[in-house]
């Protein structure tokens, strides 16, 4: 196996990619990868893209599967598990038989899912029934395009109207990012009035610094309910990029809860469109940074349908020399009469060399709208700390407790309890809480 990283330019010029993918990659390169000059990418760690081997990792062999199996968490009750290793669906590690509506897309079928003949609007992320623009698009979609050009296959989930399902999708990265990249792709279509609990995990196996560029496209039909829990707990050397696109129909309810605590650097892009009437979205996110980690998230919500509603809460803690950033951009279109948008973005600076940036943005094109936002960056409260010390609690525990308290109002919403407990354990580890988490519960 070659250890010389294959660069994007070589992939675009070579014969390894099918022609439509090659031309997409050429278009991406012509437009350029995101840079710090791009408004919504200022806080991301983009040097992770330099000198990166983008060549898709090979289909996982026995060793990669063994590594992946070793990091899988305990099964989550009621949830069928689907495991994707280095971008490849792994039936050996997944639930058998495959749950209804789950399949893998590859080859021409996959290409057909994204190749569009005419470029669409700059901000039209692809969804399962709306192919990706092959032409010019916002730079915020560039990594999604990159995934489309390079993903070996995609996991497709198609839930019929009225169905009810619970799925856990575990993405594991096992390869050294200096050699090969993981390009996982997920396409989800939730039929009318269907309900889905989706748990998405990103985990690393082995101590190599992996590179991931994940792409998730979700389409939630009329009156459907989606509860999507996202856990990014990659290893300390991982580089992670992800794009999530959502299109939500009439009266559907989408609730997202995410914890991002892993990876050396992580950038999460979410492009959410409330297209239908009275579609509702809750976006709850926790990001924990420590050491020299960089964790950046950009969430753009487009309220297009009348009565579209969003509640967004972000809680970030930047400890050590880490950087934690959250940019929440709310757009309310002309047609979104009676829309509402509420943002509560809070970050805690817990290290003298740490950096935290929270940025609410509102872009409103209609009069009849209710919009509120709050954004704060603060330090640990000295009065609270003294109160805990005065009760004999040591400093390290007092600080860990206060950090815990800071994110707990978001984390406490995670369900089911078994998953919440897993998340709380992960948070306690990250917060270096020398505390008995069970006691906090």
């Amino acid at each position: 196996m070659s250890t010389v990283p294959v660069r994007l330019e070589e992939l675009a010029a070579g014969e390894s990619l099918a022609p439509p993918r090659r031309s997409l990659l050429q278009a991406v390169l012509a437009a350029g990868l995101p840079s710090a000059r791009d408004e919504n990418w200022r806080y991301a760690y983009l040097r992770a893209l330099d000198r990166q081997a983008f060549a898709p990792a090979a289909r996982p062999g026995a060793e990669a599967q063994r590594l992946a199996a070793s990091v899988l968490p305990a099964p989550l009750e009621g949830h069928a598990r689907l495991v994707v290793v280095d971008g490849w669906f792994c039936p050996e590690l997944s639930n058998e038989p495959l749950p209804q509506g789950v399949s893998r897309l590859a080859g021409a079928a996959l290409d057909a899912a994204w190749v569009a003949t005419a470029p669409s609007a700059a901000y039209a992320p692809a969804t399962p029934s709306r192919p990706l623009a092959a032409g010019p698009a916002s730079v915020d979609l560039r990594l999604s395009q990159l995934n489309a050009a390079l993903a070996p296959e995609a996991l497709a989930i198609e839930l019929p109207p009225g169905s009810d399902a619970a799925l856990e999708v575990v993405f594991v990265a096992t390869q050294d990012g200096a050699v090969a990249a993981s390009h996982p792709a997920l396409r989800l279509r939730l039929g009318e009035s269907a309900a889905l609990s989706l748990v998405e995990r990103h985990l690393g196996a082995g101590d190599a610094g992996s590179f991931t560029n994940a792409d998730l496209q979700l389409e939630v039909g009329r009156g459907a309910r989606l509860r999507h829990t996202r856990l990014q707990l990659l290893g300390p050397r991982a580089r992670h990029f992800e794009t999530l696109a959502l299109r939500a129909g009439d009266g559907c309810e989408c609730e997202f809860l995410s914890l991002a605590a892993g990876a050396q650097s992580a950038r999460s892009t979410a492009l959410l469109e409330l297209a239908g009437r009275e579609a509702s979205l809750q976006w709850n996110a926790v990001a924990l940074g420590d050491r020299t980690q960089v964790n950046d998230a950009f969430v753009r919500v487009e309220h297009a349908g009348p009565g579209a509603r969003t509640r967004q809460a972000f809680r970030g803690i930047a400890a050590g020399r880490s950087r934690v950033a959250f940019n929440g951009h709310m757009v309310v279109r002309e047609g979104a009469l009676g829309a509402s948008s509420d943002q509560s973005l809070k970050a805690l600076l817990a290290g003298s060399e740490a950096e935290a940036d929270v940025r609410p943005q509102l872009e409103i094109y209609v009069d009849d709208v209710r919009a509120s936002h709050g954004a704060t960056v603060g330090k640990l409260d000295e009065q609270m700390r003294f109160y805990l010390l005065s009760r004999g609690i040591d400093r390290e525990t007092a600080d860990a407790l206060l950090k815990w308290a800071f994110v707990e109002d978001v984390a406490s919403r995670i369900a089911p309890a078994a998953l919440r407990h897993q998340v709380e354990d992960a948070m306690a580890t990250q917060l270096r809480a020398v505390v008995d988490v069970g006691g906090i519960r």
């Binding site: 009065q383 109160y387 805990l388 009760r391 004999g392 040591d394 906090i440």
Partner: protein, 253 residues
């Protein structure tokens, strides 16, 4: 008299560039309850905070000896583990940190300091329930965040509950009576009185005599301009109630 639990000598402290304690001396013996009274701004709360080790107070002179040890050398958490308890005038709310968790962690920190094993979970809950009954607190408080959404009176009861569970050697209660109605005052006083013991000392910082009808002090001190200007028995408190502070603080000028 045996060696006092607390011995303060000529203590001077500054906060925000202002001398707030100006040569304060006080001895509190085992088994005693002392009341420190005085007008607003006389330095009562500063004394409580200085003893508990709150940051931001600069000790410029004097000494504080607690059970033969230099108290001022200890960090706030070490003072607490060594048996000093401060009941706050305005207990802070800490949403997200569970009340019962704090109680247990505080108790275990003190036990560890004494070389004792961690408290048994069931025994602990039994003790806490019993003390809550005494303080007429609903058990639902246990699972809530520390002081989260508590009324003023509930916060004060919670302070006393913590004190009852931790069984300190020296309890400093900073205006525990403020903001309490008469029923709550009785409950809080009963809690404090159950803690009176030969090996323990209690210092009540208060503005009003009415608390002392329920918790009868052995000694009453009047604090003015950062020092104790008069000491006496409980009759002094009654006299203050009748005559106000001016006749003493004026005399001290």
């Amino acid at each position: 008299m045996s060696a006092p639990i607390l011995s303060i000598r000529d203590l001077r402290a500054r906060v925000g560039g202002r001398d707030v304690l100006d040569g304060l001396s006080l001895d509190v013996g085992a088994g005693e309850v002392h009341a420190i009274m005085g007008p607003n701004g006389s330095g009562k709360s500063t004394l409580a905070y200085v003893l508990a080790g709150r940051p931001g107070y600069e000790i410029t002179a004097g000494s504080v000896t607690y059970r033969g040890e230099d108290l001022l050398k200890l960090e706030p958490e070490e003072r607490a583990r060594a048996g000093l308890f401060l009941g706050f005038q305005y207990p802070v709310e800490i949403p997200g940190v569970n009340n019962v968790y704090l109680l247990k962690a505080a108790l275990n920190a003190a036990r560890k300091h004494q070389g004792l094993p961690e408290v048994d979970a069931f025994e602990f809950l039994a003790v806490v329930r019993e003390k809550m009954k005494l303080m007429q607190m609903d058990e639902a408080f246990l699972s809530r965040g520390v002081n989260e959404g508590f009324s003023g009176g509930e916060k004060k009861r919670n302070e006393i509950l913590q004190m009852l569970v931790l069984e300190p050697t020296l309890a400093l209660l900073d205006e525990t009576d403020s903001g309490l109605d008469i029923d709550a005052l009785k409950v809080v006083s009963r809690g404090v009185n159950t803690l009176r013991a030969p090996q323990r000392a209690i210092v009540l910082v208060t503005h009003y005599q009415r608390l002392l009808e329920h918790i009868v002090p052995d000694r009453v001190h009047v604090l003015a301009r950062g020092r104790i200007v008069r000491s006496g028995d409980r009759d002094l408190a009654l006299e203050l109630e009748r005559r106000g502070y001016d006749w003493i603080t004026g005399a001290a000028a």
